[in-house]
Structure formats: C-alpha cells, structure tokens
Symmetry: C2
Subunit: 465 residues, 2 copies
C-alpha cells in the first residue's frame, strides 16, 4: 500500500476538526506514543490526535480515507503485541479522552461507555450498585476499547467467559467514517451476520469502537479463594481439570511455581504465607450464599488433599491474605520484566489436557537455547504466559534465540491443538505464527473481510492480516 506522507495541509485540516490543543506533530509527540507496554515494536506516528467524541472520529476517518493516510487507534497503551503502534506512521488516534460513562441501565442491566474508560473504572461504577462486569484481565488500567479489540480474557474466563460474551452492542466508525451500530441492549440476537462479534478481537483493523454497551449481572455476594500447594508442577497441573469437572465451577484457577514467587520477592520484596512449596494452584469461588460457599470450599479442600495429591490447602481470608496472594499473582509480569533488560512474550492457549506436556517442552527449549523462560498461567482456561528473557545476550544472539524459541514453542502448541493467542492478540508481533497456524485459506478469508471494511487498508495497517 502506498500511503500519503502527511504534510502541513493535512495538519491544518485535522486541526480544524479537533482544535490546536489536541493534535501533536513531530517533536511534540511524546516518546510513549511510539510503543506499547512491551515495547517490541517502536514507531512514531506523524500526528498524535486526542479525540473527544465520535463525531471527531468520524470526521478524521473521512479525511484520512479521502487522503489515504493510515490511522492507528490507541487506548491506554497497555497492549503487548504492538497492536496500537503506528508502524506505518500517519495518525495515532488516541481514545483516552473519550472516557465517559454514558449510561448505567439498571432495568436492562447494561453499562454503556466510551472506549477510553478503564477497566477499574467499570468495576467501581457497577459494583457500588450491586452489579457485576465479570471479565477480569490482569491489567486493570487497560481501556475497555482495548479489551474488546483483543477479546481480553483474564482470570474468570472459566466460569464467566471472555470479554466477547459481555458485549451487547458496539458503536463503530468505519474506515470510511460512517457511524454504525452493531447489536443492541438485547440478550439474544439472530439478526444477520455477527458483525459485532467480528469487531470484537479485530484489534482496531476493521473499525473504531466509539461506544460499547456491556452486559452486567447481579454481583455474587461472596467470593473466597484457596491456595493449594503441591509437591511438583505435574501434580498441580493434573489437579486443574479435575477441579473444574468434579464438583462446582471455580471462577479462577491460576497456576504458578516457586520460581515466580522468587522473582516477585526479588523485585517487590514481598512474598506469600506458606510460600515454601514447589507448585501452587490459586482457586477462587463465588456464590450468593456464604454457607454454601463455605461448604464448597470444604468439599474442594477434601478433594485436593485426599484425591488430587495436594500437600496442603489454605482457605484465604478475604480481608487480608487473599488480597496479598492475588496482588502478588497480579505482579508476576512486572517482576519478570524487571528481572531482565528485555523480555518477549508468548500468550499461547492450549487444551487443558496438554498443559503439562507443553510446559515440559518449555523447559527443553530453555535448556536447548540457553534462554531463561519463566512462566505462569491461567491454567484453568489453558492460557499460559511465557516469557523469553534477553538477560545478558547481545542483540544479535537475542534476536536469533527469540526467533527460534517462538518458532519451537508455537510449533509445539499447534501440534497439541493450541492457538497463538489466548488474550493478548496478534498485532504485529505474532502475525507470522498465526499465518503458520491458520494456513493460506483462512488468511485469505481474513484479508477479504479486511478489504470489505477497509478497501484502502488505512486502518491499523500491517496488523493481523
């Protein structure tokens, strides 16, 4: 694609849409707008524009479409695969000021928000009303627009599904600048092709989300957690699918090993009680009835100790230690990132039955390539987060190792029925692996769909397709 190089006429035209205060060019562009949280892809836009409402978005897209200027959408910038990096220059459309909560509808149980609203703001808004938005991605400062664009999963996907299941409707500006509405406040929809579901997970390549209507439910009144300790990884992993099948659905089953706790201690100086075991499952359950929840936890405790080979099980007091363990779990990515100059990530997702074999292979790869590869995961839903660490390697050696490492890991994952990304998306960083997994026919379908929405290929170019 031959995009237009932006010039002073373009900057003038765009300034006439948003005013002087919200457009930044050349030296005015802050370094942070050249990359996302992981920073693998680095590229500056030609113009960084903060939009305030959907009409501005529509006008900018009409102009960009007419002039053939690429546009990349950015929310809170917490992505990990370069999805929000303006790799072809052009306009970086910054949605962070579109951060208004539009409507909490207590009869239809929906929350309508602008895309720049952050995940933690959604929780705050609905939970004080006794309502619940269940998706629980690790990064609470992410924007809801970004969550929808990657179909973010998080810890409660076992019981409550991913972001996709919690989006009732989307307002979207197309690459041509049209404002369309997909879905409604309704619970069911069999009205034509699932365009809403096509936008979800499309990483800002098909249209720009300018509002989202989310599904809510009554908030479960009680949530309790249990930390289960095992002698080794194998035992912990084998217990996980049984925990899900044998009794009652947990909201979360997280897995980590001693190693992750050590990284955490080194970086944050904190650790958990009962932190001396080799492997752990961290479970969470919820209910409207405390007595019944306590019975469930007691039952689960017996199961893990008597049948699943756990060494110990600690019911976590929600007032203190729970938040401690969960906070420490939430800090693993930070701790691992802090342990090395540079890390790159593999967000692979596998059938639960294949986790154990895959993690053995991860150790093999680590030894073979001489790369440190810490990991942890949402083991209940088969989604692992695996980090290749650069450590003291030269850039050249690192590049070689990380390329080979990803190649080996994804190849193994595909053999085991896994997919490239469980929740972080494809962006630019994981494109080649997705192409390998899905094959030419599926890539052609995706490219065809992209062209239907975006004939000039101006929206988030080079991503996914």
């Amino acid at each position: 694609m031959n995009y237009k190089k932006m010039d002073s006429n373009d900057f003038l035209a765009l300034t006439s849409i948003v005013g002087k205060e919200r457009i930044f060019i050349k030296d005015q562009i802050d370094e942070k707008y050249s990359h996302d949280q992981l920073g693998t892809a680095v590229s500056y836009p030609e113009a960084h524009i903060q939009v305030k409402d959907k009409h501005e978005v529509s006008k900018i897209m009409k102009y960009a479409y007419q002039e053939n200027i690429p546009v990349t959408v950015r929310g809170a910038g917490t992505g990990l695969v370069g999805g929000s990096v303006a790799v072809m220059g052009g306009i970086l459309l910054d949605m962070s000021l579109m951060n208004q909560i539009i409507e909490l509808d207590k009869i239809n149980l929906t929350l309508t928000v602008e895309p720049g609203v952050k995940l933690f703001e959604i929780y705050e808004c609905v939970e004080k009303e006794g309502l619940f938005y269940a998706p629980d991605p690790g990064e609470k400062r992410a924007s809801i627009g970004g969550n929808i664009s990657t179909n973010a999963g998080g810890m409660r996907a076992i019981k409550y599904g991913t972001t996709r299941e919690w989006v009732r409707a989307l307002e979207v500006v197309t690459p041509k600048g049209e404002l369309l509405r997909f879905g409604s406040k309704v619970v069911k929809n069999s009205t034509g092709y699932g365009l809403k579901d096509l936008i979800i997970g499309s990483e800002g390549t098909l249209g720009i989300i300018v509002s989202a209507t989310l599904k809510l439910i009554p908030k479960p009144k009680f949530t309790k957690s249990m930390l289960v300790a095992f002698a080794n990884r194998e035992d912990a992993i084998q217990a996980s699918p049984r925990l899900i099948k044998d009794y009652v659905l947990p909201t979360a089953v997280e897995f980590f090993e001693k190693q992750s706790l050590e990284y955490n201690e080194a970086f944050f100086g904190t650790t958990i009680e009962n932190g001396s075991f080799n492997a752990y499952l961290l479970l969470s359950y919820d209910s409207n009835d405390e007595e019944s929840l306590d019975k469930d936890l007691e039952h689960v405790k017996k199961l893990v100790l008597n049948q699943y080979g756990a060494l110990d099980a600690f019911i976590i007091d929600p007032s203190s230690k729970r938040s401690n363990v969960w906070n420490i779990r939430g800090g693993f990515l930070e701790a691992i990132k802090a342990s090395s100059d540079f890390v790159d990530e593999c967000d692979v997702v596998l059938p639960r039955s294949e986790i154990s074999g895959f993690l053995s292979y991860v150790r093999e790869v680590s030894l073979k390539l001489n790369v440190r590869i810490p990991y942890f995961g949402h083991i209940g839903d088969g989604n692992l987060h695996i980090y290749l660490c650069k450590d003291n390697a030269s850039d050249e050696v690192w590049h070689e190792r990380v390329t080979k490492g990803f190649e080996m890991l994804y190849q193994k994952a595909f053999e085991l029925g896994g997919l490239v990304s469980g929740e972080h998306g494809i962006g630019i960083a994981k494109k080649m692996y997705m192409q390998k997994l899905l094959g030419d026919e599926q890539m052609l379908l995706m490219q065809g769909i992209k062209k239907v929405f975006d004939p000039k290929m101006i929206l988030n170019p080079k991503k996914i397709v």
Copy 2:
C-alpha cells in the same frame, strides 16, 4: 445470479460421490423437503442428497462450485424462517445422517459432534456423565447444526447465554469445498478475526458446518421452578427485570397469559394447576446445593409477593408438576398453530424495559388489522414469540394483513431498540425487515462478507443477504 439448471450429467456425477441410495431427484423427492416447520416458503430442490461424512460434503461442494449449482443445507427441518428451503432449486444437502457423536472429552469438557445430532441427544449424552450443555431452545428435535446456524437462544439464555457461547470450534466446508477449522478446544481465543463467530448465526450461507466442538460444564445438581401468578400482564412484566437484578440470576423467566393456557387446553386438553390467573411468570433456578436453592426460592417468593405485586407463588415439585407446567409451556407454539389454518411468526427481541409497551402495541395492531395475535415469550431475555393467525381470512386478505402487521410490529420494535430476530434467524422470510433495521451500509458489509466466502453465491442463495 444465473445458476445452472441441473441435468443428467450432474445427477451422475453426484451419484458417483454418494452412491444411488442417497440421492433423490424429481418425483423421488418427498414433499417435506420442500419446506420447513412453519412452511411459509415452499420450493423443491432439483436433487435431495443425504450426506454421510465431511468428505462427501467437500466433494459435492467442489462439484457444485465448478458447475455453478446452488446448494441449500438442511438439518432437522425445524426452522421457522425458510432458511433451509431450496428456493433456487439445485441441491438440498441433507445433514441428518451425519449424526455421530465424535468425542466426549472429559478433561477439556468438550463434546464434538456431527451437525445432524439432535439437541436432545446431546443432553442425553452429557447429562449421564454429570455434565451440562446449557442452551435450551424449545425444539429439542432440532439439529445442533441448525442451532448453531441460527445462534439458537432458548430459555436459559439469561444465565447461560445463547448457543454462540457454547461453541468452542467448528469444522466448516467452504462453498469452494475446502475443509477449514475455526477455533479449538481452548477456552480463550484472540487469534485473528472471529471466523467461528461469523459462521455462527450465518444460517448456512457462508459455509457448511461438518462438526462442532461444544463447551460443557459440570451439571448443576439441583434445578427448581416457581410459577408466579399476577393480576395482569403489566404486573408480571414489570416484575421480570427486578427478578433478574435484585437477587440471584434465574436460569429462565418465561411469561404467558391465560390465553395461552386456553389454547393449550383446547388443543391438548391439558392445563396446569392454579391456572385461573390472568398472567404468569415461570421461573427456574439452579444450584449445586439444595439447601441454598431452597433458601433462594423462599427469598424470591417473598420478593414477588411482598414487593412485586404477585397474587400467589407456587414452588413446583420437580417430580410431577414442574414437568407438567414446563411441558405445557413447551407446547404453546403447537397449540397456537393448531388454532388456525395458517400462522406466521415474529420472533422479535427487545430490551427488557420495552416489553410492556410493545405488547400493548401488539394488541392495538390486532384490533386495528382485525387479526388474532397470540403471543408468549422468553421475557427474561426480551425475546417474544408473536403469532399472526390467518383464521378464516382469504389468501388475499391474509397476505395484506400479515404484510401490514409485520411492518407495524417491526417498526415499533426498532423504535424501542429491538432487533428482528432473537433466535429463529432471518432466512428468507425476515430479510426485508432486517434490511430496514440495519440500513444500506451494514447490508453492504454483509454482502461483502458473503462474497469473500462465496464468490459465486451458490450457498443457500437468497438468504440473509
């Protein structure tokens, strides 16, 4: 589109794929393959072919694509919008012999089936293992392929969502005859565009589902129901959103009025206990803990009697009366159909808050057009089933009334934020209303997507787009 009229060479070629026993032409084609359950659209295919496996499907599609022969897919024929009727002739691809259960995976909690497996067979297969496939469309003899193709909803959508949320992976034969796999056994997926979700609800226009991998969960151990009686429709309808928000999520909230019971009595000769009230909500709750479930029901009983203006509330003994009430609820469509020569249906879905106003309007339309319009609905999820009855009208008068009636009802629904179809789909019968609701831009997107999958437009022509 100019399709090829099938000739003896085509029949020979197709016979060489499936053998003589499973292809029917001309007079050999049974009348029932010219329509679906509602029978609004009637058209014979040129060849009715029963396929036995995905390789046959692939070979037939390669042939049909090359020869430009239209292909319409049919499951159990329980559709209501003409989606499985071969309106352009050509091949009717009958999937009912592809009815094998391929794998029950107890570790990953998935069931993989061929598309002709019927809904009740899925329940039987998984429930004896203590597992649960939650979608609960009224017609249990429908095929799972059809359920997926219309994103069937059913009674438990409030708590468990629609069919979409229960499909982990699909194997699909494209119009060109390629076999593709969308999704996997995994719980989360952010790997490129949601092609699986695009196939779901596409009513056999984008590809042919040849296997489906469904999500399962542990079966809730206890389910109980409550029949709540109200003095009038208004009170019942207003209680519904409060029941959903104020306490704990019901699995189902069904609504009916005395009238529906009367149709049922006239047709089946059966009625419910406590059947003398004007309006009812039929509620269902589930739990793993019987004590806690009983507490919930007692709590709900107090709410409906003390706060929501119910006249009475009957907890339904699962061993006898429950099934009676639910059976009678399940028979409403049959009873209404039996009350008239011919009925046509509106499967509109609305925000819960708008049901009451909409039903008042239904009565207005009924009076104005002099058409009997019985209805009932999955009120908890805003999905109403509304039947226009021909009764003694002449064909001409009926056509005029039904056209005007649908026009008025859909127009009102759109004004209230509703959609054309909650669960039955668009097919051929509801196309014009969908076009009106969605507008040209969305229709162009859908047509564009259709052409990406099916450049010759041979698969289920004239449906949806």
